[in-house]
Structures are given as C-alpha cells and as structure tokens.
C-alpha cells in the first residue's frame, strides 16, 4: 500500500512540476518587438497589418508589431537599412533602386500586385481610355512614380503627348472637380473618392491595364534579418497575409481596426479605400503575397529602359520562400 501510494504521490508531483513548467514556459515566452515602417500614413491601405495586429495574428507568431507611419523625415527604405525598423513597406521600383545602390534589402511578399496609380475622369466627360486624352487637360501629381507610369503608358499606347495639355496638380481631386483638368492622376484608393464624395461618378483608367504595372506595396527586410531570424520573418509574413485574408473577408471589421490607428479619417472613405484595394491585392488567380518573376522582370525592364538602374539579378531582389512557407502551413 505504502509503495503504491508513494508512486502515486511521485506521479502527481511530477505532473504538477510539468504543468507548472508548461505554464511558466508560456508566460515566459515574451513577444518579440518588431517595428514595421509603413509606406504612407495610417489608412486602409495597410488594413491587413491592422487586422493582423488587432486580431492577434502577430501575437500568435510571438510578435509585438509596432506599425510606424510614413513621415517625410523617415522613409521606409532608409529606416530598415539602418536598422531603425525591422520591416518596411514600399514600392517594388524603389526596392530595386535601393538594391541597385547596394542596400542589402529583399522583398519578402507583395501586397499590392496591381499599382493603384490611376487616371480618373468624370464619367460625364466620356474619357475612358488614354486615347481619349488627346486634346484634353491631364493633371499629373508631382511624384516621379506617377510621371513615370503615365509616360510609359502613353508610350506603350503610341499616343502623341504633344496633343495633350499636361499640368502638374496637387494631391487631390479639387482641380478635376473645378474643371481645370479633364483627367487627373491619383491613387485609385484616395483621390477619386473625393469625386464620388462630391456626388459625381468617375471613370478609372489603370495604367496597369495598358502594360505598365509595378508592385505597389511590397514587404521587405534586410538580408541580415532573413539569414538570422528566418522564423521571425516567416511569422511576420504569415500573420500579415492572414490579416489581409481576414480583411478581404471582413471589410467592415478591417475598417474598424483601421480607424483605431487613424480616428480622424472618414469611415466612408476608408470603406471605399479598402473596397478598391482588394482587387489590387487579391487577383484570385494567385495566392496572396506571392510574387512572380515576370512581374519583377517587367518593373526592372521599365527601370532599365529609363536608365534608372544598371545590371541587376532580379532574383536577388525578392524571395517567395516565406510566402510559400506560410501557405504550406497546416490550416
């Protein structure tokens, strides 16, 4: 009797030690703090990130993600390169340029597969394609991206730009609404909404449909990080994509989360923004986040054609390793 009793006691003791060990292990496992530098101010453009954080997807990967918004003084590429941020979100063209400059950065997933850069007109104007620009006032925002995309598109379309009155405009739709321009450039997720808000319908022209597309938002990090913390990178990619999938399926909730980061924004606008964003992220014929050599190649070709970069192995700029791992995970 005494023997069996002591055995039972020993078992109970072992079990309790084991359980205590388990619980302490869980509590001891602290979240790794990670800074992510966004490409822009807080808005639904990064809905997937907000969702991932707010729904606890990052925490599940043991990450405490700090989402740092863009500011003129701190650019994602710089911040990540110097190690101020662990991850960044930026345009594929920028990343290629940085890479060409010798910065050891690498894209680990694409968010915006289709560039939201668009040209929009009032529906009543009847302008629905670049061919219709002839003889019209086209307002272009003063960023190199927009100009580059516009010029390339016109070139691809064989349109004589001399017949078009190109004007530089501000970062809103006011000039189109004022009639100063017939067509304006802008992010499909932002500026055209002003027109809609003004009670008018818009025509959207995507340069992407005319052969000029650049991955707009890609997640990137340093080669160092990939090498030393591949599990952390995988966790971050996986959680971010999960966040986006969730946002796609639950747009309203995603907007709620977005507004937590930027309470001053209009819900209606953010709702519109997310709705417009989804087709650019989620093409349906590819996994979210997965990049193609063709797409990267196209961007590189564009940049090469403009003599912006020298020779570069495009496969060094990105890796699908983490996206693939995320989808290989058992769900």
């Amino acid at each position: 009797m005494k023997f069996t009793q002591s055995i039972i006691m020993a078992l109970i003791l072992l079990l309790s030690i084991f359980l205590i060990g388990c619980t302490t292990e869980q509590t001891q496992e602290e979240l790794t703090s990670v800074d992510v530098h966004l490409k822009y101010f807080h808005q639904a453009q990064f809905a997937g990130n907000y969702v991932a954080k707010e729904q606890g997807f990052y925490a599940e990967e043991n990450l405490d993600v700090n989402l740092v918004p863009f500011s003129p003084e701190s650019q994602p590429i710089f911040q990540v390169t110097v190690g101020e941020a662990d991850f960044g979100i930026t345009g594929a063209n920028e990343l290629i340029l940085a890479r060409a400059e010798g910065k050891p950065l690498k894209a680990i997933a694409v968010i915006y597969k289709i560039s939201p850069i668009s040209l929009y007109s009032l529906k009543e104007s009847g302008i629905t394609s670049p061919q219709d620009f002839i003889g019209k006032n086209v307002g272009l925002e003063g960023t190199p991206d927009v100009k580059l995309v516009y010029e390339l598109m016109m070139k691809k379309m064989d349109i004589d730009r001399s017949k078009i009155n190109e004007i530089e405009i501000g970062f809103d739709a006011s000039q189109l609404l004022a009639g100063e321009t017939d067509v304006s450039s802008g992010y499909v997720i932002n500026e055209p909404y002003q027109v809609i808000e003004a009670g008018k319908e818009v025509n959207i022209i995507f340069p992407a449909e005319y052969g000029v597309n650049m991955y707009a938002d890609v997640l990137f990090t340093t080669e160092n990080m990939i090498e030393n913390n591949p599990e952390l990178v995988e966790g971050f990619v996986s959680a971010t994509l999960e966040g986006w999938q969730y946002a796609i399926e639950h747009e309203e909730e995603a907007v709620d989360h977005t507004l937590k980061y930027s309470p001053d924004l209009s819900r209606a606008h953010q709702t519109y923004m997310l709705h417009q964003t989804i087709p650019l992220i989620h093409t349906g014929n590819e996994h979210l986040g997965l990049m193609t050599e063709a797409a990267w190649g196209n961007i590189y070709e564009i940049l090469l054609g403009e003599s912006l970069v020298t020779k570069l192995d495009i496969n060094e700029v990105y890796t699908n390793e983490f996206v693939e791992k995320a989808y290989a995970k058992e769900r």
């Binding site: 394609s129 691809k156 005319y210 052969g211 597309n213 087709p279 989620h282 349906g284 014929n285 996994h287």
Partner: protein
C-alpha cells in the same frame, strides 16, 4: 419494495428493453444506409453540375470558335493588321465597324459579358465594350495561351470589369494556318454560380460550389452573401480535392458545420467541385425515424406500464387482501373470509386460508367452551373447598386441642430422652472404662507371662537340667498354654486398642494377588498337616491402596479359620475386580455356620461353642479384628454358609482410599471453574 411495484416494474422493463434494442438496431442500420444513399446522391448531383458547367463553357467556346472562323474577322485581321499592307484607313474603319457589329450581334445571342479581339501585340483591337479597346493583354494567360490553342482562364479577378471572370480564348488563323490574333470572351460568371445554386435536391443545408486552386471560393455561397472571391476554404475536403483527388468525406464545411462532402477536382478547369449536405439534414429522415421509434417506444412504455399496473393489481390485490385479512385474523377477527375468485394458485391459497381460518375459529370456540366448563367445575370445586375449609377449621380447633395434649406428652418424652441420654453417657463411660480396664489388665497379664514363657522354654531345652519325658510333656503343656495365653492377651490388647483409639492405617500400594499368594503359601504347611489342600487361583489385579500388613492379617485370619473349621477337603481362595472394588473369597468345605450364628460371628469373643476349645485354637477375636480392618478400609466383610457343607467368607476392598476425597475435591474444582 411492495409487490405491486415490483410486478409493475417487471412488466414495464421487459417490453421496454425489447423496444430499445429494436430501436437502436434499426437506427444504426438505417443511418448506415442513409449515409450510403446520401453519398450516392451527392456524387450524382456533383456529376450533373460538372456536366452543366462543362457544357456551358463548351457552348461559349463553340461560339468563339465559330467567330474565330468568320471570314469577316479573319480577313480584317489578316489584311489590316497581320499583313499590314498599305491600306485605306477608311476601309479599315469600315471593316472594323463591321466586325464590331458582328461581335455585338453575337453578344446579343450568346451569353457572354464581353467578346473581344486581341492583336498579336497584345492590344485589344475590337471589343463589345468600347472601354476595353487599346488595353494591353500581354501579361494575360488567356492571350498568351490563346495564341496557341483554345484556352480557358478559370476564375480570376478582372480589373477591366471589376469582377471575377472566366475568360475563354481561341486563336484566329488565316488561310495559311498562321495565328493572326486571338478572340476572347468573358463569361458571365454569375451563370456558373447559378448552375451551382440551381436546385439540386440537396435539401435545406446542401449546396454545390467551386473552389479554385488557391482555396478561394469562386461561386456564390448559398448561405452568406458576397462571399465569393473572398473566402478561402481550408476544409478537409478541399485539401484532398486540391491534391487532385475525388472522393467522399465527413467533415466540417466552411461554415463550421458537420457535412457529408463529395469532392472532385476538375482538371482542365482548375477548380474543385464540392457537393455537400449537412449531416443534421442527412439524418433528418433518421431523426424522424428516431422520433417515430421513440414515440413507439414511449407508447409501448405507457402501454406496458398500464398493463403492468393492471396485471400487478390483479395479481397483487388478492395477495394484499390475503395479507390484510391474515393480519386481521391474527388480531382475532376469525369470522372474516377472503373472496378470491381466481382459480389459480392464489385462489387455492385463499381457499386454504379460509379453511385454516375456520378451523382456527372452531378450535377457538372449542377452547372457549372448554374453558367455560372448566370455570363451572372450578366454581363447584370452590364451593366444595369452602365447605372443606369450614370443616378444616373445625378440625383445626380439634387439632389445637390435640396439640396441647401432645405437647404434654412431648414434655414427658423429653424427660425420658434426657434420662436416656444420661444413661447413654454412663454406658459410654462404662465402655471406655471397660476398654481401659482391659488394656491395663491385659498388659498386666502379659508382663508376668513373658518370664514364665522364657523359664519354661529354658526348662524344656534342658538348660536347667535334664528332664524326663513326663516332665517334658508337662512343660510342653505349660508352654503351649503360656503361648495361648499370650495370643489371647495380644488379641485382647488389639481389640481394646481398636475400640479405644481406632485404627491408624498405613496405606501403600499393594499387589493384592502377590499378597494373597504369599499368605496362602505360608499357610500351606499348616493345612497340609491336616490333609487339606489350599489353592489360590491367581488372576491379574490392579494395584490397590491398603495397609498391607493388616490386610495380610485379615487374609491369614480367614484362612486360619477355614483350616480350623475344616476337617477334610479343600480351601480355595479367589480375588477378582468388581467395579471399583476387589472381591476376595475364601471358601472352605468345613462344617459351616448355623443360620442363627451368622450374625454374631464377627463379634468379639464369639465362638460357636462358647468355649476356648482345645480343638479350635483361637481367641475368638480374629473375625472381629478382621471386620474392623476391612471396615477401616471402607470395605465390607460377610459370610455365606450352608451348615455341614462349608462356608465362604467374602470381603471387599476399594481400589483407592482417597477416591471419595478426590471426587469431592474434583467437584469443588469444577464449581470454582463454573463460577
């Protein structure tokens, strides 16, 4: 528990168990067959949907194929774009308008979203949707693949149309079989959803839908709006399906509900077809069955309960009645009878009981009658007694008087007794005095005899001078008489000591047989002198406790007597164990003892002839002494004799002397133990 409840429970439980077993078996059996049937049903629905889906796409492809062979289109492309001859712009526009018109016309009859022609450079040249004109499709699969052969680009999100699309493409070839363009058509994807949604006989929870290779739900969900092209599905069925498999599985669907799912990978469309039905609904019929079964079981239960109660009532009622009446009878109500009509064992029991009760009643009545008569008798007797009592009282008075008389007499008696006691005391004193006197006189007598004897012996031996024959004979007579006197005085001394103080016996273990033998042998010479044979038949005897010397004396005395009183014949001695005693017999063939003397022979100084005869040497004290010795051993001595034929002397000796004491002490010990 009461018998009624017991019976009710038995009656209830048996059919219930049967119902449950039957119900369970049929439930299991039917659920198996239902799953099988559902699987078959799901598969047939899936096959039907797949056929519809394929034929829908094929119809659209047929339409595109027909268009791709239209001379108008082929010529237009060949002339104005492929060959790129110098051409009239107006003619081109004219031809283009014609093609456009054709496409528009076809679109009216065909079920398509858009039909468009793509040039080799990837540009959309003509489209039923003007806005699409000029768009570059170089990146699109339907363009690149469409250049080579018929192609179906399954489910993707079209930026152009801002919705999910399936695009079919067919190469356009000139007469030299050179591809000069691609004609493509966007399918109305809602139609596919409709095909999937259309009634399939899958009930309330069933649906069929398509999932593409990126786990994306591409057709409408029957249950949640706008889920298509948003929700990714990672159910077991989809997982299996995306591995290119076909099968049936029980799993949870994208809504987390338990379903039976049939899945099939449609290879050339790159989609997975799912047909499933909620398990709950699948089992509706079974659940109905279960309901019916439980209702039947319930009814059975109630019926059996009622029957049970009824039966238990009919069975238990007479028993309970029997018990109640038995109790009443027990309390003395004998006139009660049980009325049980049933002709079974209980009826018999009741009948027997009734008989028993009536018997009891009779017996009781008898008893009462008897008691009454006894009472009467007692009354009579009491009266008689009263009379007797009066008589007695009278008699008592008389008796009282008599008593007084008696008391007077008693006083006289007491007086006499005191006198007697005085006489007794005196007598006793006299007796002691006699004994003392005897002792003293014996002693005094003996003392002078010793020197007389010695002197006589000396004279006889011639120490004081030679004696002549006459003198010798005279001295011999003197010596013999001295000896006799000596023996006589010894015996008197013995007897007087005996009477004065009693014996002080010295007990030891005695082998009586050996003792008798030795004594007999000692006496043999004396007997032989007289010509008498003496025999002792020795037998084994137990050791006894006795005073060896004295017993030897007794035996010697008896043998001496035998020799003394026997002239001829023999003396036989025997000793045997009788119970816890030894019986010794000394038998002679002498002259015997007259009846009148038998009682006296053991008394002192008794001899039959009342004389110290010369013939019979003896003091007459031997038997008295022997009797005393035997008595002191707690034995008995007696004689049987036939005058002229012989006498037999008997005496007994107990085996142990302490027997009685031992017994007493044993009993004491037992008493102590008992306490």
């Amino acid at each position: 528990m009461k018998i009624k409840f017991k019976l009710a429970i038995y009656f209830m439980v048996v059919p219930l168990i049967i119902a449950l077993v039957f119900g369970y078996t049929s439930f299991v059996y039917s659920s198996e067959s239902i799953i099988e049937r559902t699987s078959e049903h799901l598969e047939s629905v899936a096959v039907l949907k797949e056929n519809q889906f394929n034929s829908y796409l094929n119809e659209r492809l047929e339409e595109l194929l027909d268009l791709s062979e239209q001379e108008l289109i082929v010529n237009y492309l060949n002339e104005f774009h492929y060959l790129n001859k110098n051409y009239d712009e107006n003619e081109e526009e004219e031809q283009e308008a014609k093609v456009q018109k054709l496409l528009n016309e076809r679109l009216l009859h065909h079920r398509s979203e858009e039909i468009f022609v793509i040039l080799l450079n990837g540009k959309v040249d003509i489209s039923t949707d003007n806005k699409q004109k000029g768009k570059i499709k170089l990146q699109e699969d339907y363009f690149n693949e469409g250049l080579k052969s018929i192609f179906v680009q399954s489910f993707y999100y079209s930026l152009s149309t801002q919705k999910p699309a399936i695009t079919l493409s067919v190469p356009i070839k000139n007469e030299n079989n050179v591809t000069i363009g691609v004609i493509a058509g966007n399918i109305i994807t809602e139609d596919i959803s409709t095909i999937m949604e259309e009634k399939s006989g899958l009930g309330e929870t069933g649906e069929t839908y398509l999932v593409n290779q990126y786990n994306l739900l591409v057709t409408k969900s029957r249950f949640i709006e706008e889920l298509e092209f948003k929700r990714t599905i990672y159910t077991k069925a989809v997982k299996e399906c995306l591995e290119g498999k076909r099968g049936i599985i029980e799993n949870k669907n994208y809504l987390g509900e338990k379903v039976i799912t049939f899945y099939d990978w449609i290879d050339d469309r790159d989609v997975c077809l799912i047909a499933e039905q909620g398990k709950s609904e699948t089992f509706t019929s079974i659940n109905n069955l279960a309901k019916i079964l439980s209702i039947i079981t319930g009814i059975l239960f109630i019926i059996s309960l009622l029957i049970g109660i009824l039966f238990s009532n009919t069975i238990s009622r007479p028993i309970i009645k029997l018990r109640d009446i038995a109790q009443k009878v027990g309390k003395g109500k004998h006139s009660i009878k049980i009325h049980v009509k049933s002709k079974d064992e209980i009826g018999d029991l009741a009948k027997t009981f009734n008989e028993m009760a009536s018997d009891l009643k009779e017996a009781r009545n008898e008893l009462i009658k008897h008691a009454k008569s006894v009472e009467k008798e007692v009354g009579i007797r009491t009266k008689e007694l009263n009379w007797s009592k009066k008589a007695l009282t009278r008699k008592a008075t008389e008796a009282e008087n008599a008593k007084l008389a008696t008391l007077n007499i008693l006083e006289d008696v007491e007086e006499a007794r005191t006198k007697l006691s005085h006489s007794y005391k005196k007598l006793k004193e006299l007796d002691i005095m006699k004994s003392t006197f005897l002792t003293v006189t014996s002693h005094e007598l003996k003392t002078p005899l010793t020197p007389a004897k010695i002197q006589t012996q000396m004279l006889l031996e011639g120490d004081l001078g030679k004696l002549n024959t006459k003198q010798k004979s005279s001295f011999n007579i003197i010596l013999r008489n001295i000896n006799r006197l000596n023996v006589l005085i010894e015996d008197i001394l013995e007897i007087s000591r005996l009477e004065a103080e009693g014996f002080k016996l010295q007990f030891s273990k005695v082998q009586l047989a050996n003792l008798i033998k030795a004594t007999t042998q000692n006496m043999t010479p004396v007997a032989e002198k007289k010509g008498i044979t003496i025999s002792y038949k020795k037998s084994t005897l137990p050791q006894i406790e006795a005073d060896e010397k004295r017993i030897a004396g007794v035996i010697t005395n008896l043998i001496e007597n035998a020799i003394k009183f026997t002239d001829k014949g023999r003396i036989s001695i025997e000793a045997n164990k009788k119970g816890n005693k030894i019986l010794v017999e000394v038998k002679d063939t002498g002259k015997g003892i007259a009846k009148e003397h038998i009682d006296q022979i053991f008394e002192a100084f008794f001899q039959i002839e009342k004389t110290f005869t010369r013939e019979h040497n003896g003091t007459g004290l031997g038997l008295a002494i022997s009797k005393s010795i035997v008595n002191a051993h707690k034995g008995k001595i007696w004689v049987r004799s036939v005058l002229g034929k012989g006498s037999t002397f008997y005496f007994t000796l107990p085996l142990t002397q302490r027997q009685r004491e031992l017994k007493i002490s044993k009993r004491k010990r037992l008493n102590i133990k008992k306490k």
